[in-house]
């Protein structure tokens, strides 16, 4: 049984998780799902401000700003949405170069050397070309946000002090990462092995080890977004296998853009064959509304065939996904496009199905 068909459960599936990594093949809507998950996790507090979620992006394309229809997010945590019950979603676009400078400043107090590094292209080298370093920086900043404690005055590193509904232990109840696509996710998260061939000792190694402690713990879950199509499903299966082999914690599967099934099962099988739908029956059904002309009957039976083929294909792909042995959540296709109303709808679905 999939979670899509069961009702709201007492306890969400990932209540112990504080870092939700959301991956998916390009075009499956992983940014949308990450946003919906953040909204879902932010809901459910007793008082406004009870729940606070940080949504981070690591690919520098300002997808979160577009998703929430906000101005581009600088390298700074900003509130982008509030749920009806007062839960907050904050967003941060992590920039590898800024993260490196911040890191250098924090640990080495490099000052003029940092400027020289930049001038000679070393920062650029470290953040865009040197393999692995960029990933250590991006995951490192994310893990810092996961572990960050709420300080007395300000819960945030960048000075947005404000009062809280309760005494929080952590600055954020959970962090949701809009992560790189499925094909790269294990390499991205497995920073340890990525830098191990390069940095056997030294600061990068220490940083990588610290990051890995968070990523391999039960605090983390990697969720896969997929469509019920062959390629994304195959990538999801491969992704799960790779992730598990690397000892990283696999989360759930979110089937995005699932289509409603409009025909009963026995009819689906027949309709899937071209011309398999009973035209006479369809014409009889359409007659009372004056639409039983042959063109319409032909067009609608073709539509039925297409729908039936699609649904059967999707059913097959859904079965394939069972091999992941992960909880499955299904989100409907938003035919009108994704806006805040649509996001809220997806967030409610995720909560209802127990994903948050």
């Amino acid at each position: 049984m999939t979670n899509a068909t069961k009702g709201r459960q007492a306890k969400p599936d990932w209540s112990a998780v504080r870092l939700h990594v959301v991956t998916g093949k390009g075009g499956t809507g992983k940014t949308t799902v990450a946003g919906a998950l953040a909204l879902a996790l932010a809901a459910g507090g007793k008082r406004p401000g009870d729940r606070r979620i940080l949504l981070v992006e690591v690919e520098g394309r300002q997808g979160l700003a577009q998703l929430f229809d906000a101005a581009p997010v600088p390298y700074e945590e900003r509130r982008v949405a509030v749920t009806p019950d007062g839960g907050e979603v904050w967003a941060l676009a992590i920039d590898a170069e800024q993260a490196l400078l911040e890191y250098l400043d924090m640990f080495y107090k490099l000052g003029p050397a940092a400027r020289a590094l930049r001038r000679f292209g070393a920062i650029d080298f470290a953040t865009t070309i040197a393999p692995g370093i960029r990933d250590v920086l991006l995951t490192g900043k994310t893990c810092e946000a996961v572990r960050r404690r709420a300080s007395a005055g300000s819960a945030h590193g960048h000075g947005q002090a404000q009062g809280h509904g309760h005494d929080r232990v952590f600055a954020y109840d959970a962090v949701v990462m809009d992560a790189p696509p499925t094909g790269r996710i294990t390499r991205f998260l497995n920073v340890n092995s990525e830098v191990s061939g390069l940095a056997k000792v030294g600061p990068i190694r220490n940083q990588a080890d610290a990051v890995m402690r968070v990523l391999t713990s039960a605090q983390t879950a990697v969720h896969f977004v997929t469509l019920l199509e062959e390629m994304p499903v195959q990538e999801t299966l491969d992704g799960f296998a790779e992730l598990r082999a690397a000892g990283l914690p696999a989360g759930g599967v979110v089937v995005n853009q699932a289509r409603p099934v409009v025909l009963p099962e026995d009819r689906l099988k027949r309709a899937a064959q071209p011309g398999g739908l009973d035209r006479a029956e369809l014409a009889a059904g359409l007659a009372p509304v004056g639409l039983a002309d042959p063109e319409t009957v032909t067009a609608l039976s073709e539509l039925a065939t297409e729908h039936a083929q699609r649904v059967l294909l999707e059913a097959g792909q859904r079965e394939e996904l069972a091999a992941t042995e992960a909880p499955l959540y299904e989100l409907p296709l938003l035919t009108d496009g994704v806006d805040r109303v649509g996001l809220d709808l997806l967030a409610r679905e995720l909560r209802r199905q127990g994903a948050a």
């Binding site: 393999p131 190694r205 006479a280 509304v289 294909l313």
Partner: protein, 417 residues
């Protein structure tokens, strides 16, 4: 879509002997690989001698092209129609092997061995985000130089941004040939003339800081990599530039692939602007996975009809009206098809009617949804075209099933024409 759109004349593009290279660009997940394969097959079956360079194709698509292993050499695709005199070769890019080949070709054997064994090189060649783009360009340059085909169709790496294909090679090239590399290899030369003292000071600062960040062993590996690469200085950037120029020549046609979705069209828009700025020839936009309504009924009409049917059904259940008999007569007359719905037998006519009504209502709702989606897609496409007027467009319909054989590839184009 409306009449103002210029259609992309695909066959003319593919048939023309002047078209030597077709590059399929676009953001990840829009169907670039499939589009590239479909174009290549079409061109080959219309008589061209074609090679298609694919990057990371789906397993079954690769199989259908006869690509069972990643061996970095073009293989002839079996099962194509060769009656027009064309041929089709296909290959999958192996970026690591392509990189290794450049090293072997350009360094003496001893140096090459050093480079290939260097841990820093191994990471760089296997994982740097831009390596795939650089190597795709490199491979394109090689295929072109080889001269065995009269048309090369190129798929581009599945990066988030279509621009990466154009930018990454230069980034890698400038790093490999750049100032930092020279600095890293500089310590050997320090201690010379006074004029270099200042530079040497800067160098010390930089290498010192890099050592702190990277750890001295990694820095050592980078430095020995750089020293071994010394003979190839200038080579990488030059090669990237040469291929870049190839993309600006007459015989190259760029095709931007996009799904009618905001993200994909935004990427397509950036890419279109970039091509214009760099004077690269854009042949057109391929709109993939377009939904078209089959019936000419508005969404409003379909929904209200469905509503009516659903309400009517309730009425019929309580007391059957004459609607039913009228419908049955109509059905026989309008379609002249198989003899009734006798198979449902014992449920009686009211059960059959209810089922027929339910079927009709469900399909009308499905149709309405399709119309809404199609309208949204047209609106998004219209907005793109308003910003980029005159770009020829080829629409490819959304397929109900995944494509995994040559027939499926043929079908994509056939259905668009």
């Amino acid at each position: 879509m409306n009449g103002a759109v210029t259609p992309l004349e695909l066959d003319r593009l593919l048939d023309s002997a002047d078209t030597k290279i077709v590059v399929c660009c676009g953001s990840g997940g829009v169907g670039k690989t499939t589009t590239a394969a479909a174009f290549a097959l079409r061109a080959a079956e219309r008589g061209r001698d074609v090679v298609v360079l694919t990057i990371d194709p789906a397993r079954r698509l690769a199989q259908s092209l006869g690509l069972t292993e990643l061996d970095n050499t073009p293989r002839e695709v079996p099962g194509i129609d060769r009656s027009a005199g064309g041929r089709l070769h296909a290959m999958m890019l192996d970026m690591k092997r392509t990189f290794d080949e450049i090293v072997v070709d350009h360094a003496d054997p001893e140096r090459a061995k050093q480079i290939l064994a260097n841990p820093f090189y191994q990471s760089l060649s296997a994982s740097f985000a831009g390596t795939q783009e650089y190597m795709a360009m490199e491979k394109l340059g090689q295929l072109k130089a080889q001269g065995d085909w009269d048309l090369i169709v190129v798929d581009t790496p599945p990066s988030r941004s279509a621009l990466d294909f154009l930018d990454a090679p230069d980034r890698l090239g400038s790093f490999l040939d750049g100032r930092l590399i020279r600095i890293l290899s500089a310590p050997a030369k320090v201690g010379g003339l006074g004029a270099f003292k200042l530079l040497a000071g800067g160098v010390g600062l930089v290498t010192g800081a890099l050592g702190k960040i990277l750890g001295t062993s990694l820095l050592g590996e980078v430095q020995s990599f750089v020293a071994a690469l010394d003979t190839m200085f200038g080579g990488f950037r030059e090669r990237a530039e040469r291929t870049y120029q190839l993309l600006q020549t007459e015989g190259t046609a760029f095709v931007v692939v996009a799904a009618p979705e905001p993200d994909a069209l935004r990427e397509a828009s950036y890419f279109t602007e970039r091509l214009a700025r760099d004077k690269m020839p854009l042949a057109g936009l391929v709109l993939n996975r377009v939904h078209r309504p089959q019936a000419d009924i508005t969404a409003e009409r379909a929904l209200s009809a469905a509503e009516q049917l659903s309400n009517g059904k309730a009425a019929k259940r309580s007391g059957r009206g004459k609607n039913g008999s009228e419908a049955a007569g109509n059905a026989g007359g309008s379609t002249g098809s198989t003899g009734g719905n006798g198979s449902n037998g014992e449920g009686g006519p009211s059960e059959d009617e209810a089922q027929a009504t339910q079927l009709a209502a469900a399909l009308l709702r499905l149709h309405a949804e399709r119309v809404v989606q199609s309208r949204r897609e047209s609106r998004l496409t219209g907005r793109f075209l308003a910003n980029h007027p005159g770009i020829p467009v080829l629409e490819l319909a959304a397929q109900a099933e995944d494509i995994h054989d040559l027939d499926g590839l043929r079908e994509i184009i056939a259905r668009s024409a």
